[in-house]
Amino acid sequence: MTTAIARFRQSFPGQHATSDVLAVRLPILLLLALPLLAPTLFPTSRLVSLAVTASIYVIVANGLHVVFSYNGQLSLAHTTLWGLGAYSAGLLLVHYDLPIALLIPAAGLTAALGAVLIGIPAFRTSGFSFAIVTFAAAEILRLIGNDWTRLTHGGRGITIDLFTAPTALGPIKFDTFNHLANFYYLTLAFAYVSIAGIWAIRNSSLGRTFIAIKENEQLARSLGINVYFHKLLAFAVSGFYAGVAGVLFLYHQKHIDPGQLSPFNALNSIQFLLMILIGGRASTLGPVIGAIVVVFGPEVVNSIFGNILTPTRAQIVFGSTLALSVLTAPNGIAGQTRDGFNTFVAVTRRSRERGRSWPVSMLIGLGYSFWPRAAQRHGINVRPEREP
């Protein structure tokens, strides 16, 4: 027992507590497996439907994560790429009845191509100008959606009929009327793949190159990194993510139009920015946490306090949360949790060294973990949070 505790304590070498496999990675993986149970746990199909929405959001937000958090480019065209994926899938479905196995790569590639086409002029500028150019490009795409009636059906949008459209992948059916759970597992699978994808990017030389560009573009250039190409690449990857999510969105909603609340409104990009910032832009799982909070947060509040959060009010709350989180917790929930955990470990250990008993030490650690800054005053410095 004592050796086990000793090993447990050794596994925190102070600075790199989060790298510990047993105490951190395993619980996180278990938590990540939890959504698999959603269809059995959730009592209503409405909740399962929300879980589908959350999974789709996770995919889109992960894509934006690559561009925004890794590469440092604030794109406001991201939801429009999502809409582009949905539109291209819808048109292919309406005109050619393609199976979903073909639709997904097709829509993904279309959105990636759209991202490249937007990026080619937009990456000539940087910073805010880039954000605004992507916004304008998104508006142009929306105008096409609205006004190129012959191609896009104009403001009526595209409605797909799931009773005639191909909704099966081999023997598995996943139309959202009768086989919502199957559809949920399909989106969830894509969400997992997207998480694994950005995790792989983050830990590859490509991800480091993206981050180098974010941190010091000029220095990166002087070391031989082709900044323009890598920015386009990051944008194309995130466009692909958004395009894939677009197909799933289309199957889920069965309709896409260029309206105010659809993915084709560029301002909805703020939603995904919000997810990343609430979740934590320095963490791989930030967008996942953010998407879950944004989708299920209002649901939880409504079930406790009785439907006080209309969608409009939820937006007000989210908007202020976005502003507040930027000002007070720039690394979001994930960053706060990590700091809290590291503080807990460090304070508990120091308290043990001063001869207090285990329960007392852990209690003190728990207290400080909610307020890492207070622990800093006592000389306990967890690994400094990386300013985004």
Binding site: A212, S222, L223, G224, N226, P384, P388
Partner: protein, 248 residues
């Protein structure tokens, strides 16, 4: 055989300001070249033109037979000409090791074996290994300067351009830097070109010195020649320096 790097009649005009006026310069392989001159004499502009950050108004830069005047900075870096910066010299929110890794992988191995086998070698060479896990924003200034140098080394250049590497360093650190530059030239076999205001340092490390003033080359030669050149003394070094050097 084409010369290593040669600058021919290079000029840069900023709407009326003549930052560089027809500079001619040869950098010889394997040597350390010092580039000095008063503030605003066009040293950094020359670096910017060499590395593609500024587009020259006229003239050419020829690197091993290729005209690189109008290439992009990253293309020039991949050809083997890498510079450092006076400010913003590191990736601040990454650890020292990550910094070096970023620079290392920026350039694909071109098949040629390099004396530095990997990031560890770079950090060991510069004495950065003790701080490898620290964020670059948190390391002391002297280490940050070394890390800036390390990033350039990790990009495996053949020609290394150092822009005031000793600015802000104290005496000991400057001395250490001097020996480091000597080792870069000697052990790693890189050609080095240094912009520096610290004349003691530049005199001790350079094999040849070029003096710029108001965008023109006013002198070129061995350190001793330069120190005694009346022109250079008048524009840059001052009488005091010449006397003190003569006394030594």
């Amino acid at each position: 055989m084409p010369s290593f790097l040669s600058v021919r009649r290079l000029s840069k005009h900023y709407s009326g300001v003549h930052a560089l006026q027809g500079i001619d310069l040869e950098i010889e392989e394997g040597k350390v070249l010092g580039l000095v001159g008063p503030n605003g004499s066009g040293k950094t502009t020359l670096f910017n033109c060499l590395t593609g950050f500024t587009r020259a108004t006229a003239g050419h830069v020829v690197w091993c037979g290729d005209d690189i005047t109008f290439l992009a900075p990253d293309q020039i870096a991949r050809k083997g000409v890498v510079r450092t910066f006076q400010q913003k010299m590191v990736f601040p929110q990454s650890t020292v090791r990550e910094n070096v890794e970023m620079a290392w992988q920026a350039r694909r191995a071109d098949g040629s074996h390099h004396i530095l086998g990997g990031c560890d070698d770079v950090m060991r060479f510069l004495g950065l290994s003790p701080v490898e896990g620290t964020l670059a924003a948190d390391i002391p200034f002297g280490f940050a300067r070394k890390l800036g140098l390390g990033l350039a080394l990790a990009a495996r250049p053949r020609l290394l351009l150092l822009d005031e590497p000793a600015a802000g360093l104290n005496l000991d650190e400057t001395r250490e830097l001097g020996s480091l530059i000597g080792r870069i030239s000697g052990e790693l076999g890189m050609t080095v070109c240094v912009i520096e205001h610290d004349m003691e340092l530049i005199m001790s490390i350079s094999e040849r010195i070029v003096v710029l003033d108001a965008g023109q080359k006013i002198a070129e030669g061995q350190p001793d020649q330069i120190a005694n050149d009346p022109n250079v003394i008048a524009v840059y070094l001052g009488e005091k320096f010449a006397k003190r050097r003569a006394a030594q």
